[in-house]
Amino acid sequence: MQRSLKVYLVLMAIAAPVLIASAAVQPPPPSDDEVNAIAHQLYCPVCENVPLDVCPTQACAQWRATIRDKLAQGWSEAQIKDYFVEQYGERVLATPPARGLNWLVYVLPPAAFLAGAFVLYRAFRSGGQNSEPLVPTAPDADGDPYVARLEEELRRRS
């Protein structure tokens, strides 16, 4: 009995450091937040306009499981996104890469905004120059023969 206890203690003494070391090396499993941080940047083509992190379908659940597996294997965020693009195309990305026709997405809105601001500026500027005075001015005697005649008559009588 004592002998078997000694053997057990010796085995434990040998195995304990190995077990502790392996427990220390084993990374923790990816959390839901880590999975969702990447899933939020992806869209499933089946569920239009629903980010992957909140998509309730079975297909999206499978995709999230894939993200979790890849994270557990030590893949980086960029590697996982590249994998999804390779598998399902660029349309899964919430933010399309700035190349090809995608450039229009980045260029057109600010260009249209600047152009609109320019048009407004021009409109206000020309409007200020051409605007009519709000308070009516006295009639110009030089331009109106009747007014000129009236003033002449008043001068004679005064």
Binding site: A59, Q62, Q87, G89, L104, L108, A112, F118, V119
Partner: protein, 186 residues
Amino acid sequence: MTDKSALEAVVPPRPVQWGVILVWVLVLGLLAVVGLGLIRTQQGNIGVGARAPDFQLTTFSGSTVDMADLGGKVVVVNFWASWCIPCEQEAVELETAHQQFKDQGVVFLGVNYVDTESEALAYLDRFGITYDNGPDLGTRISQAFRIRGVPETYIVGRDGRLAHVKIGPYESLSEIQTAVNASMEE
């Protein structure tokens, strides 16, 4: 001095308004992009009689099937996914039809749409599907066929044109047989 030159002397020519031209170019460009996008989304599936898109399918086993190499054969292209419940309805019937027609110059191809490989392989195993199947990498094949969902099946005739299109699952084996036989006779 003519009237025209007199007028030009009084009224100076208007300068070219590059800003306005730029705004119009931008607006028209934006409308063109939106319009092209709308046209693409409204196009719908490719129809019977249209030339079938050329594509290459890399199967789950690693081999490559090229449509260009299947000229002169009737090709049944079935789009499916493991998460698609209606796909299960026709899975066994498609395999049965494959077994019946494989020696008659009819090729069955399964294109796995927006799926994960492990789930797809489990699905193929569950329904005992043996014909070539592979993922739709980059959704390029489904975009070429302009599919709207799964399941959808396209039968390409010997002349390379679509002979039959089925949106949704086949209801029975006889429906598949009828479609394939009709495509073989065309």
